[in-house]
Amino acid sequence: MPRLSFAAPRTVDEAVSILAGAPGLAKVLSGGTDLLVQLRSGRLRPDLIVDTKRIPGLIGIREEADRYVIGAATPGVMISDHKGLERDYPGIVEGTDLIGSTQIQGRASLAGNLCNASPAADSVPAVVAARATVVVAGPGGSRREVPVEAIPTGPGRTSLGKGEFLIEFHIPKPKPHQCDAYLRFIPRTEMDIAVVGCGVNVTLDDSGTCVDARVVLGAVAPTIVIVEEAAQALIGHKLDADTLARLDAAAQRAAKPISDKRGTIEYRTKVSGVLARRAAAIAFERAAAR
């Protein structure tokens, strides 16, 4: 990598211009917890690294009337420490918090986790379950806001064009009796990539019946899977044994995993059902308590 260059732009448009005009391969650096590993192993050989952390607004959390605005490069430790997010979106906080170790948490960002586009990314299922959006900056002053699930298109691939990068995430404030949960399965208790991940976001009415839901699986397909059938299994129902069974089955049907050094197809499929049930139970309990 003898010709690697580094830039730390101070504005969004400066960053866009550097990225768009880069002659070779340019990579955005937020927390670097994926990028530097790939640099070191030789898997990625960029010519230019663009650090976005010095752009105002890229790090920080703002609570507005109807939404949270999270800077794209905000490290996990800030997200976990945010009282509002912890209260309103414990599932998103859980998911972010599970990315690696305490040390990783000091750096890892939602943008990095999303754009690295590992199917097993821990923050993504709950963020997608929350129906969050993300603002993409691009050439010519362009700013477009898209659902988070529009970004990853396959393992290691995103829909971003040359010169584009993420600047902030918008997470709508939850309704009354709306809450979420994220669970993942790993062989140890920490430090592993998710074998299966599941984010569930539910909205209940006063009687505890589900009126809206999103169930998102991670690590069981090339990108996250929004399991429409699982949501339908929940909507209109309380979380009784029947609903759980249908939820489990729907999750298993939606899972399209591979067998690799972390798990087999059979195993991941079964555990998708297990985690969907368990995450739903937690989300329901939390939603009822709000």
């Binding site: 003898p2 580094f6 640099l39 070191r40 305490t102 000091g106 750096r107 208790t189 430090m191």
Partner: protein, 161 residues
């Protein structure tokens, strides 16, 4: 091969250095600044032996570029003791025999110190999860956890809580 000039603060002292873009903060500490206390165990952020504290947050120096240090405040293992006065975590590691080969020890001490900076009353479980990113192959973690909990007790007493 052009180098970047970086000005930063390490262990309370202003520091300047030149480095290439691909050099990690760990490379800079060890190979440019002679601060070899932070160790390279894996260079992929999985072992924590390279842990440093940046602006109060513990992180892996192998996952940070040397050029990123500009303007930040960095603490390494070399800055944990105050002169010849050991930090309670360091003292308790010695008393509890919480090290055998000692290679993971700098990273563990930095991470443990970062824990006690934000939580002076961690439970055993909280301590174990906080330190999950620091691999140790010699001790089985038992005496490490005891040392950290004991250091917390000492620090609580000193703070009068």
């Amino acid at each position: 091969m052009s180098k970047y000039h970086v000005t930063t603060t390490i262990n309370g002292e202003p520091v300047e250095y030149l480095c290439e873009a691909q050099q990690t903060m760990l490379d800079v500490l060890r190979d440019e600044l002679g601060l070899t206390g932070s160790k390279e165990g894996c260079s992929s952020g999985d072992c924590g032996a390279c842990s440093i504290i940046v602006d109060g947050n513990v992180m892996c120096s192998c996952l940070m570029l040397g050029v990123e240090a500009e303007g930040h405040s960095i603490q390494t293992i070399e800055g944990i003791a105050q002169g010849d006065k050991l930090h309670p975590v360091q003292q308790k590691f010695l008393e509890h025999a919480a090290l055998q080969c000692g290679f993971c020890t700098p990273g563990l001490i930095v991470a443990a110190k970062a824990l006690l900076d934000v939580n002076l009353n961690p439970t055993e479980e909280e301590t174990r999860y906080w330190l999950a990113g620091n691999l140790c192959r010699c001790t089985g973690y038992d005496k490490v956890i005891r040392a950290v909990l004991d250091a917390a007790a000492v620090m609580r007493a000193e703070a009068g809580r």
